[in-house]
Amino acid sequence: MRNRIFCITACALILMCGCKTASAPLPPWAPNAQVATAGSVISAANNVVVGYEQDQKDCAANAALTKCPGVSSPAIHKAVQDIQQALVVAQPQFNSWETAVRQDPAATEPANLAAAISTIQAVLAQFPSLTGK
């Protein structure tokens, strides 16, 4: 039941990403849509790790908060760690690629960046199944 419920959020997120790709205007910083899409995933992943850090701090200060059993969940902790480790690879490559595309619109996306973004997306997609473990 929990997994089904979390599918609602996952579906909403996936739908939102699809809409952004299809219809949203290009962000001012993005030289093209491909860079914008990669950057959006990196920004989402970055905010997840930052948010988890903040949740850890909140629970260190007040363990009675509703979210604290989730913050201490090994499955959730590992998922966030996996995202952070993918970010360590992805972010510097994204920065270089963004700069390269500004100079040469045909500059290709680094393979390691594509793989790291795929990892991030895969971990985000696991979120619906992270409860009850």
Partner: protein
């Protein structure tokens, strides 16, 4: 993704919520947060569609259906603190992902520092 498919999926989400109530008859405070996050995501979808100038009225109907179900869910309670905590935290993290995605509309991700290992 076509607008009609998007609407169909949104309506599917809305229509599935009563099944959760039927299967367990209980909904948690954490789930309220979850659905709040879901609604925020749907709202973002509508904003994105509106920026493209199409089909906002169709999507508004889907959102209204979701909001009606959400109101019903808010009337229920649930008591397992561990499960509640997991649901609450995952909901918050999904919300963080959505917010990060939205932030990328204005903030260049290359300016973000890589956060440390949690």
């Amino acid at each position: 993704m076509s607008i009609s498919l998007l609407v169909q999926l949104l309506l599917g989400i809305a229509s599935s919520i009563p099944a959760f109530l039927d299967s367990e008859g209980i909904i948690s405070a954490g789930l309220e947060k979850l659905f709040e996050v879901s609604l925020a995501a749907v709202t973002a979808i509508i904003a994105a569609i509106r920026s493209g100038g199409t089909a906002a009225s169709e999507l508004q109907s889907a959102l209204s259906a979701l909001q009606a179900e959400y109101t019903a869910i808010q009337q229920n309670t649930y008591a397992d603190p561990v499960v509640l905590g997991e649901i609450a935290e995952v909901s918050l993290l999904v919300g963080d992902a959505i917010q990060g995605f939205e932030n990328a509309q204005t903030v260049d991700p290359s300016t973000l520092p890589v956060p440390p290992l949690p």
